[in-house]
């Protein structure tokens, strides 16, 4: 019998170990302290912990690819870069929640701990090289997120959102699990490498494989809220506290996208025609619904839900291309998407009306006059999301469209450009409301230093990207450099 693991293998999973153990330690510490001291203390330690995790993650980029724990986990540039993105997202989330969680009334130490555990789950599912490992990691992060969505359990809307998320998430888990079982039934194993080899040896033209693919990708499409598995997104975004919405918008999607990238490039690499068809459908529908349905929204959180749906459509374009350049384009896109979302929430989380974070788009009216700096920041971020040069968002869109065109998906790319025009409407509308509409509103800024820090960093990326784009492009290219086995 082979040993469960060798001790040296632990050296490769420092980030996961650190985060998991740190989270549990912080949980114990928190129990012995009183709120709100516990929240602040745990939050600060979490930030340090995440920073340390990021450090180990960066260090591990560039090492030789490894199979760990009898092929349960894989370490390569893509997984490590993906984890770095996830960790950055968590870091942004922690910095953003600092003050706003207190204002929104859920400043409990469990929140950062849950986020850390969700991060652990994400890192595991990114690294997994076994369908079961994937499932366990995915469920770990999902369960934490369900709880986070309903963290204000005394609030009807938040509780409803959490419950909806949970029920539909369970359904999607079921779909995923069913797909996994089909794959197991076809290949006789849950190991990525084994499945890949099996499909190489026995080209299956069976409906069973199609079914398996559809179910697996449907389960994952739920996580990235791709149409038609997006129905939860607007409701949950709206119902959950805005602080939590920010987390939903930024972090889990990155993990799920990278997971899809790994699945389609490793175990399912040979079933290209099938998964491409599925992803084209998902991407096209997401771009369309994300752009069109956002037009009539009046709630900024619902609007951002549709925005994220549309953005996932664009991100999928790079994967559909199926090339290395396409995958790295998706990585760039996700990075910029996360940065822009963080920047946007960094502003929104500091805007309050009657002690509550603003939710209505009309509440932005007059912001241009009263808080010109903030308004300018929002304007920059929104222009960037809308894809207006020379801001970063433009380049994100450009590289994914480029990849799609290069791989012959010209119609889809054109469709993407057209929907992005429609989507530009609702981004620009916010700017218009901000500068050209006046209202006797009582929006006030409750300044948060950490959120301002995030804002400055993200604005620097958004506005500065055009001057030094190579760093991010090289990062994304290296992440996809073929792992030398």
């Amino acid at each position: 019998m082979t040993p469960v693991f060798h001790q040296y293998e632990l050296g490769f999973i420092w980030p996961e170990l650190l985060m998991a153990c740190g989270a549990m330690l912080l949980l114990v510490i928190g129990v012995f302290m009183k709120e709100p001291k516990a929240y602040r203390f745990v939050l600060s330690l979490s930030v340090l912990l995440v920073a340390a995790t990021a450090y180990f993650c960066i260090k591990s980029i560039g090492v030789n690819p490894q199979e760990l724990f009898n092929g349960f986990l894989t370490i390569n540039n893509l997984t490590q870069s993906g984890k770095l993105l996830v960790i950055t997202g968590i870091l942004f989330s922690l910095l953003l929640m600092n003050k706003s969680a207190e204002h929104e009334g859920f400043a409990r130490f469990e929140v950062p701990v849950l986020l850390l555990l969700a991060g652990t789950g994400m890192m595991l599912m990114i690294s997994a090289s076994n369908l079961l490992g994937l499932y366990v990691g995915l469920e770990l992060q999902s369960l934490c997120l369900y709880v986070l969505a309903a963290i204000r359990r005394d609030n009807v809307r938040a509780a409803e959102a959490g419950l909806k998320y949970f029920v539909l998430g369970a359904l999607s888990s079921g779909l995923l699990l069913f797909g996994i079982s089909l794959l197991y039934g076809i290949a006789g194993s849950t190991d990525y490498e084994y499945i890949e080899m099996f499909l190489a040896k026995n080209p299956v033209q069976d409906i069973a494989l199609t079914l398996a693919l559809v179910f697996v990708l449907a389960g994952l499409a739920f996580k990235i809220s791709a149409v038609p598995f997006h129905m939860w997104t607007p409701d949950v975004y709206e119902g959950a506290p805005t602080t939590i919405t920010a987390i939903f918008a930024m972090v889990p999607k990155i993990a799920a996208i990278i997971l899809i990238m790994r699945l389609v490039s490793e175990p399912l690499a040979l079933a290209v025609s099938e998964w491409q068809q599925i992803l084209i459908f998902l991407a096209g529908a997401s771009m369309l619904v994300g752009a069109v349905a956002g037009v009539v929204q009046t709630n900024i959180k619902r609007l951002l839900a549709y925005s994220s749906i549309g953005n996932m459509g664009y991100a999928l374009l790079g994967i559909i291309a199926g090339t290395q350049a396409g995958m790295s384009a998706t990585l760039v896109y996700m990075l910029l998407y996360m940065v822009m979302t963080a920047g946007l929430f960094a502003v929104i989380l500091q805007l309050y009306k009657d002690g509550v974070i603003i939710e209505k788009i009309e509440d932005f009216a007059g912001l241009g006059k009263r808080y010109p700096v903030f308004a300018l920041a929002i304007t920059l971020v929104l222009f960037s999301i809308a894809g207006i040069p020379p801001l970063a968002g433009f380049f994100g869109k450009m590289v994914v469209f480029n990849a799609a065109v290069a791989s012959g998906h010209i119609a889809l790319a054109i469709f993407g450009v057209l929907t992005s025009v429609v989507a530009a409407y609702y981004y620009l509308r916010i700017i218009k409301v901000m500068y050209f509409e006046t209202a006797e509103n009582h929006v006030a800024i409750l300044r948060s230093l950490s959120a301002c820090f995030v804002l400055v960093v993200t604005l620097a990326v958004i506005a500065g990207f055009v001057f030094a784009p190579d760093h991010i492009f090289i990062f994304a290219r290296d992440a996809l450099a073929l792992p030398a086995r």
């Binding site: 909806k164 199609t210 129905m231 956002g294 009539v296």
Partner: protein
């Protein structure tokens, strides 16, 4: 050298300063700087004229700037100084100086004096650019520049709807003419390969037989070029057909009417044809058209002028009529006669307009002659000056108009063609009408019983929108009052011109050397210039003649030289215009002074004809139906049916509306019920499976 440039650019600099920094230097500063600029230009122009009249002038072209150079298409800004442009420059700058100074007084109650002065200077500059142009494009620049300035000044009181409408009308009607002009420029470029004047003029004789093939028809090229250019001239000079804007342009302040719509801008068409005399000479058909159009304009405008009551409109129609004279002079190749009349007309018509302005000023902005009368002893200086202007206009001997108008009529007679004769008889009849309406104006305005006592109250209030409080206090007693010296002085200057310019300039514009018989000294253009230049050097003592004065800036074929031939017409031709003028004056006295009930009787008896004249031959009504209404209808059609319904409806509006509909549908899916969401997910899975299965099958 500096002065030569200053003659053109001083008003421009003044315009820039007054236009851009008017608020800083104040209205007094604006008035000073613009008056200074234009007077400087006038002095510089007069210096050139002095050289010219002493025979010491060398025609020259001063370079300014390279403009466009594409392949062999080379256009530069340059000032072409020759006899023709110097005559025009003098007219423009002298009248403009008078008007500038006059405006200081006339506009003293207006709140935006600075803007007004800036516009005047802009106009002066554009007009100078037009006449000193060395190529057609620069001419076109000036042409459009004066059009712009005219638009701005007609609509100067932009709070008045009628002024805006008049400004727009002037601009649009001129567009028609400008379209012809631009086509003419293009045709020139096609035909001659250049739009440089020298290149065009030197090639014209060689191209005399060239044809354009258009839609299978062979069109005589020079005739086409000339007619197209003439269309531009018709628009700018308010000749019959495109004249409807000129009377309406009287909505502008009176100094504007004097400068732009009497003395200078409306004569740009005359200048254009005279400038292109080397080309027109080879297009006899075009000359015929010019003659007929000019003659018709002269008579139509005169008949309308007889019936109008607005003092400014009467003078406006008179201007149109006199422009008709100039054009038929051009048509019979009497270019120098046309230029002569242009100069004298500029003086006496500007005098009449400014005099009318003085009357209007005295009457507190009343322009209707029916509400004037009996004021000759209240404003004696204006009265005398108006007399001088009218005598010059009517062609009474030894006033300026006598020399130029008679020269035109004699030239037309000397042409010995059917259209020359036609123009001659029309000129005779129009001379009668001219004298008639001029004295009608004088008598109605200055004589008879005062008709202004009652009417006055309403109108005083009506004009307070551009009258400040000072005016109100000063003239609270409602008496007509003589204008201030700042307004009278320019009138005196112009009156001197109206009195003496004819006699002074007769030799230069019409003189023929006694030693050579008429018609034999005109040689081809290029050689001719050398002759004149060398002749002028050793012949200071010689008397001034037309050929020496104009050099080669005008070109007349020997057989067409009607001005020379005009000296040999029968005696009765020379006397007839004078008799007609005297008869017109006499009739006016009969009608309006001695038998004041006669006009009403005539109107009753000849009601249809009077109505026809009074309603301006129904040109406005006709154009309204033909062009304005149809344009509006077409515009509305394309706007509402074409743009809004079709392009917007299928394009932006339609797409955005459909997007909103789709968004509404999609958000209705978002019901909030978990089981529906789950249902959508399952449907999604089924659709995906079906889709892929179908693709594979």
């Amino acid at each position: 050298m500096f002065l030569d440039y200053a003659a053109v650019f001083a008003p421009f600099v003044a315009f820039l300063i007054a236009g851009l920094f008017g608020r800083i230097i104040g209205y007094r500063g604006c008035q000073l700087i613009t008056c200074f600029g234009v007077i400087l230009a006038a002095i510089a122009s007069m210096r050139l004229f002095l050289d010219l009249s002493l025979g010491e002038f060398e025609p020259r072209t001063l370079p300014v700037l390279q403009w466009i150079k594409i392949g062999n298409f080379d256009v530069s800004w340059a000032l072409r100084l020759d006899s023709l442009s110097i005559v025009m420059m003098n007219v423009i700058t002298i009248v403009s100086s008078c008007v500038h100074v006059y405006s200081v007084g006339y506009m003293s109650e207006d709140p935006s004096k600075g803007r007004f002065m800036a516009y005047l200077s802009l106009f002066t500059f554009a007009m100078l650019m037009l006449v000193t142009a060395d190529n057609l494009l620069q001419l076109f620049f000036g042409w459009e520049g004066v059009g712009l300035a005219s638009y701005l000044l007609i609509g100067f009181w932009f709070e008045k709807n009628s002024a805006n409408a008049a400004a727009v009308k002037a601009f649009i009607v001129n567009r028609v003419g400008d379209f012809g002009l631009s086509l003419g420029i293009i045709a020139c470029f096609i035909l001659f390969g250049s739009i440089q004047f020298d290149a065009i003029f030197s090639q014209a004789p060689a191209k005399a037989t060239a044809v354009f093939n258009f839609l299978g028809y062979d069109v005589h090229a020079l005739t086409l070029v000339c007619l197209l250019l003439f269309v531009g001239a018709v628009g700018k000079s308010a000749q019959l057909g495109l004249h409807t804007w000129l009377p309406d342009a009287m909505e502008g302040p009176t100094p504007v009417s004097a400068l732009i719509h009497a003395a200078t801008m409306v004569t740009a068409g005359v200048f254009l044809v005279a400038r292109f005399s080397p080309v027109f000479e080879y297009a006899p058909d075009a000359l015929m058209v010019v003659t007929v159009v000019g003659a018709l304009t002269a008579i139509v405008a005169a008949t309308i002028g007889m019936t109008q009551f607005d003092i400014k409109r009467v003078i406006a129609y008179s201007t149109m009529s006199q422009l008709g004279y100039m054009f038929f002079a051009l048509g019979v190749s009497a270019y120098s006669a046309a230029m002569f009349h242009l100069v004298t007309h500029a003086f006496f018509k500007a005098l009449l307009f400014l005099g009318a302005g003085s009357v209007i000023h005295a009457m507190h902005h009343e322009q209707d002659m029916r509400k004037m009368g009996g004021i000759w002893n209240k404003i004696p200086v204006t009265y005398v000056l108006m007399w001088i202007g009218s005598l010059a206009l009517a062609g009474v001997p030894f006033f300026a108009g006598y020399y130029s108008k008679d020269l035109i009529i004699e030239s037309a007679f000397a042409d010995h063609t059917w259209f020359g004769n036609f123009a001659f008889w029309i000129g005779i009849v129009a001379a009668l009408l001219t004298a008639f309406y001029s004295w009608r104006l004088i008598i109605m305005t200055f004589h008879g019983a005062p008709r202004w006592q009652h009417a006055h109250d309403d109108h005083h209030h009506a004009h307070t929108h551009h009258a400040n409080d000072d005016h109100h206090h000063d003239h609270g007693h409602h008496e007509p009052h003589e204008s201030p010296p700042v307004m009278l002085l320019p009138l005196v200057v112009l009156a001197i011109g109206a009195l003496f310019s004819g006699a002074w300039l007769y030799n230069a514009f019409a003189g023929t050397p006694h030693h050579a018989p008429a018609g034999q000294h005109e040689i081809s253009t290029t050689e001719h210039h050398g002759d004149v230049a060398s002749a002028s050097k050793d012949a200071h003592h010689k008397e001034m003649t037309r050929d020496r004065f104009f050099g080669n800036s005008l070109h007349i074929l020997p057989e067409n030289d009607t001005v020379a031939a005009a000296h040999n017409v029968p005696k009765w031709v020379k006397v007839l215009p004078i008799i007609m003028g005297a008869a017109g004056i006499f009739l006016a006295y009969v009608f309006f002074m001695w038998l004041p009930q006669l006009p009403a009787l005539c109107v009753r008896i000849f009601a249809p004809i009077h109505n026809f004249f009074f309603r301006k031959w129904y040109f406005d009504e006709l154009y309204d139906v033909l062009f304005v209404k149809t344009s509006f209808w077409l515009g509305k059609f394309f706007w509402q049916k074409g743009d809004q319904a079709t392009i917007d409806g299928l394009g932006p509006d339609g797409i955005s509306a459909r997007t909103k509909d789709a968004a509404g549908v999609l958000s209705r899916f978002q019901s909030g019920f978990v089981y529906q969401y789950a249902f959508v997910m399952i449907i999604g899975v089924i659709v995906l499976i079906s889709w892929i299965y179908w693709r594979q099958a």
